[in-house]
């Protein structure tokens, strides 16, 4: 039952968005193109299109989030959908209700889409394989597994700045081990045909066998950034110090913090990205974050367009042709 790609329907169209792994390049490009068409909506005086009117979306966030939650909500509202937000930490699962029971209850309320964030890898797959057939699931981050919309908005941002993916060298720096964002980015970049994807970090933060995903591993920042077109910094979570993964924030910043000096190894027109939230002075220097090369805020605004694109492709099929 888990063997086939449950993300696609019989016609090969997107039914759920759970991970970017296994999706065709054409489909990713279609999402990016659709997102492009929605950027104009954001600029209009009336920032709404009626694509998802009458649909009910549920934001099911089992983990705290600010940006992802708000951009999903914003995207849904701009598509004229009704949005429910369930704050799970205060709801029934903490009273012992199982995840599945909760889903059944929500299904009974005739929702059309679940946008799920959960702390366990595979949660989105689990939910998608157990919901009623008319419901779509979008993964807004599950454990260390995937965060597909984040990766898509990163691709969208890269494409806006660099045009073609083919000739690029992209370096992803930091805590690859615990990062769902990095995994989705790697799948997206390799699918879109990026020439070289690098991961940079100390061995404690780079998972074993990561090469099998099609990336090159660097433990030295200078070599890792050499001639890079795109530098993606990942957030370093403070609790990593407790797991003996790193000696100190200070030393991490010295070796892997992105400073103007280290950025000099990359191409002069390299862009700097970060999924946020930023720890200034831990993984990135303030000057870099605020520099002209930084596209961090742009990522956030692109997030709305990309999420609108995904939602409309998953739910708004009749209008899909017009949007794309």
């Amino acid at each position: 039952m888990m063997r086939k790609n449950i993300q696609l329907d019989e016609q090969g169209r997107l039914k759920h968005l759970l991970t970017l792994e296994g999706l065709k390049r054409e489909l990713l490009v279609e999402i990016l193109d659709t997102a492009e068409s929605f950027t104009s909506v954001t600029g209009q005086a009336v920032k709404k299109v009626p694509l998802l009117r009458g649909k009910t979306l549920v934001n099911l966030f089992f983990e705290a989030s600010t940006r992802t939650l708000t951009t999903f909500e914003l995207a849904a509202k701009r598509l004229s959908a009704d949005v429910l937000k369930i704050n799970v930490s205060t709801s029934a699962t903490s009273k012992g209700e199982s995840l599945l029971d909760m889903l059944r209850n929500l299904e009974a309320m005739h929702c059309d889409m679940f946008i799920v964030r959960h702390g366990e890898s595979g949660a989105a797959h689990f939910i998608a394989s157990h919901v009623a057939p008319h419901i779509s699931v979008i993964n807004a981050g599950d454990g260390r597994h995937a965060h597909p919309t984040q990766a898509l908005l990163d691709m969208f941002t890269i494409r806006r700045h660099k045009g073609e993916f083919g000739p690029l060298t992209v370096a992803i720096v930091g805590d690859i081990m615990h990062s769902r964002v990095a995994r989705s980015q790697i799948h997206a970049l390799t699918t879109l045909g990026v020439d070289e994807v690098r991961v940079v970090g100390p061995k404690t933060l780079i998972p074993k066998a990561v090469e099998t995903l099609g990336v090159h591993v660097y433990h030295d920042m200078e070599y890792g950034l050499e001639d890079a077109d795109v530098v993606i910094m990942l957030r370093l979570q403070k609790e990593r110090m407790q797991g003996a993964l790193l000696p100190s924030e200070h030393e991490y910043y010295q070796r892997y913090g992105l400073t103007m000096d280290k950025l000099a190894a990359a191409k002069t027109d390299a862009i700097v990205m970060h999924p946020g939230p930023i720890n200034r002075g831990v993984e990135i220097q303030s000057e870099v974050a605020d520099s002209a090369q930084s596209v961090i805020l742009e990522q956030v605004s692109n997030g709305v367009a990309v999420r609108m694109a995904v939602m409309s492709m998953v739910l708004g099929r009749p209008a899909e042709g017009g949007a794309a």
Partner: protein, 641 residues
């Protein structure tokens, strides 16, 4: 009740028997085999024509969930599943609730099992009080209450306590059952640390969690001299470390779960929680290494590690699901699949789920000795069916094998001479007719593939059919994996009168004793020669040294009638590995130890035979014999030095 099991192909690996024979059962014991005792009046005749009759299976590790988790399963429900699967004895690890650390719990389990009456249950006692790893459990009291060994199950024990526990267990003559997993390295992992865990973002359990624990345990075993058993080794590296220790004479035995011989991390696919097990499914390379270790005897037993769960246990995101497979009902079918895969002969495969586990547990089971308890499994080796949830008797329906085509349907299970499971007549009829058809199909396939059918051989065989049935060797007589039996006499079409049969046993026995005598003189070169003979498929070889091989060749060809391997071509070169091992083991007795050639190469005595033919990665520079899986209980070959 007096029962005759008539006309079945009797395979009793403990006694080197593989022939069509009748079995006479009275008062719960096996009264006789072959010749009908005088005045025997049967109350019930089981017609086993076309079926295999073997000792009831012994499952080294099955969780029954009672006491403590009766919502998942009970002793009654799981022993019933065992009976249906041909398992007559199973061993319950101590991690029940309450823990098996007092005689009262042991007695409770034995009593419940006795009341249910579907299968024998033996228990392992706790190594430490409440498995907390702080204070030794009352091992002696547990032993007196009937525990066959002690274990801390999956709970961690630090080295100081483990050392003391081993020392104490050694002095009480108790075997310690170890689950090698270093908790600091495995942490919260739920999948093998490798390509799949990195792809799916699952917290990984590195291979080193196992190898580190094995390395430490090996040192402590050496220090304390305790008899130890490694449960469900999951990595190639660990198997090799243990093989080397066995070579050095350490009193260690090993088992592997059936699922680790068939599944890999890849089977997790997109978060298939049915493949969430502990230790985790590892790589293809590990799976092949475990198979290799099984064939060469490093790993002597296959267990199910049966863990029934309620459905909710698997209904969650992968890391939040509970590990384990409801596996007891697939134990025999998967063991038989190893025969189809060309790894083991049918008798050898059966020995890994009957005689060897019984031997490790030091219980009198797993044989068809005259006088032994009549714990018997009758099954059809060819009938295949698609495994569906509706087939599962166990309360736990959690298995990744649903949808697989399985072979080895158990038609009758006898426990202490009582029929505890039998299929209804319609099913039996279908099994026999359909199974015969499938057997024929397999046979014609093998003919189509150019395998000559060696019918002549059987005609020529002399007959001293009863040679071994009246001299049942005791367990300790058995010195090594037995040579594959000839299946010649096991022709279903033949009359069941054993006398009419060609005595496979004659030749086998002769071969065996000959091997024993000649082995000392044989050089490694002879082994090489044997290997070559095998590899060239020269079944017609009449060289005396190749006697055993000729046998196995005959086994292969003739056996197609009952036991047609699906892929005879892979089958033939591999199978003889087991055939050779007795000779090789004997060889070793007269061989002085030579250090391994490279520190990273396993003592090649363990691996050369198989790797030469299957893995084909190791040079043929050392052809010393295969390990003796039995080295622990039997006066080890080493000791003869």
């Amino acid at each position: 009740m007096r029962i005759i099991i008539e006309g079945g192909r009797v395979i009793d690996p403990a006694n080197d028997i593989d022939k069509v024979q009748d079995i006479y059962i009275a008062e719960g014991k096996i009264l006789a085999r072959g010749r009908k005792p005088q005045d025997f009046q049967a109350d019930r005749v089981i017609d086993a024509n076309g079926l295999v009759v073997c000792p009831g299976l012994v499952d080294m590790r099955a969780r029954l969930r009672e006491p403590g988790q009766e919502n998942k399963a009970t002793i009654a429900s799981e022993t019933k599943a065992a009976a249906k699967a041909g398992v007559t004895t199973l061993c319950c690890p101590p991690d029940t609730d309450p823990v098996i650390d007092t005689p009262a719990v042991v007695e409770l389990i034995h009593r419940r099992a006795g009341e249910a009456g579907h299968a024998n249950v033996v228990t392992l006692g706790a190594l430490t009080h409440r498995l907390r790893g702080e204070q030794l459990a009352e091992m002696c009291a547990l032993k007196q209450a009937g525990c066959v060994g002690v274990s801390n199950a999956l709970q961690p024990v630090d080295l100081k306590i483990l050392r003391r526990a081993m020392e104490y267990a050694a002095s009480q003559d108790l075997t310690v059952y170890l689950h090698p997993e270093d908790p600091a390295l495995s942490q919260q992992g739920c999948a093998h640390e490798g390509t799949v865990s990195v792809r799916l973002g699952l917290p990984g359990i590195p291979e080193t969690a196992e190898t580190v624990a094995v390395a430490q345990a090996l040192q402590l075993i050496d220090l304390t001299g305790v008899n130890a058993h490694f449960c469900q080794v999951s990595s190639d590296a660990a198997a090799r470390m243990i093989a080397r220790a066995q070579y050095d004479g350490a009193p260690i035995t090993v088992d592997v779960t059936a699922h680790h011989l068939f599944l890999t991390e890849m089977d997790i696919g997109y978060f298939n929680a049915q493949c969430h097990v502990r230790p985790p499914l590892r790589t293809q390379r590990d799976r092949d290494g475990l198979r290799e270790a099984l064939v060469n005897g490093t790993i002597s037993a296959i267990c199910s590690d049966h863990q029934p769960h309620d459905t909710d246990a698997k209904l969650a995101p992968f890391p939040a699901t509970e590990p384990g497979i409801s596996a007891i009902e697939t134990l025999l079918p998967l063991a038989l699949r190893l025969v189809d895969d060309g790894l083991l002969s049918l008798p050898d495969a059966l020995s890994r789920v009957t005689f060897f586990p019984a031997n490790i547990l030091e219980i009198s089971a797993g044989t068809l000795d005259v006088g032994a308890n009549a714990d018997i499994c009758v099954f059809h080796p060819h009938y295949s069916w698609r495994y569906e949830e509706s087939h599962i008797v166990s309360a736990g329906k959690n298995t990744p094998f649903l949808g697989w085509n399985l072979k080895g349907l158990v038609t009758h299970t006898l426990l202490n001479g009582r029929i505890v499971h039998e299929v209804d007549d319609d099913t039996l009829h279908e099994v026999i007719t359909q199974g015969a058809y499938e057997a024929e199909l397999a046979q014609s396939n093998s003919i189509a593939q150019g395998q000559p059918l060696d019918d002549d051989i059987e005609a020529e065989d002399s007959n001293e059919e009863d040679e071994d049935w009246f001299e049942p060797p005791s367990v300790t007589d058995i010195d090594s994996p037995r040579p594959p039996q000839t299946d010649r006499e096991a022709r279903p079409a033949e009359d069941t009168d054993a006398g009419a049969f060609v005595p496979p046993s004659a030749q086998t026995t002769a071969t065996k004793s000959k091997q024993k005598k000649q082995a000392a003189k044989k050089t490694a070169a002879a082994a090489v020669e044997n290997t070559n003979v095998l590899d060239s498929n020269a079944f017609d070889s009449n060289a005396s040294d190749a006697n055993a091989l000729g046998n196995s060749g005959g086994d292969h060809q003739v056996s197609t009638q009952i036991d047609a391997p699906r892929e005879p071509q892979t089958d033939s070169p591999i199978e003889p590995a087991a055939a050779k091992s007795p000779a090789m083991a004997a060889n070793d007795a007269n061989d002085t130890y030579k250090p391994p050639i490279s520190p990273f190469r396993v003592p090649s005595k363990q691996f050369a035979p198989l790797s030469d033919r299957v893995i084909k990665t190791q040079p043929e520079d050392d052809n010393r014999a295969a390990a003796d899986p039995n080295s622990k209980r039997v006066p080890a070959v080493k000791d003869d030095d």
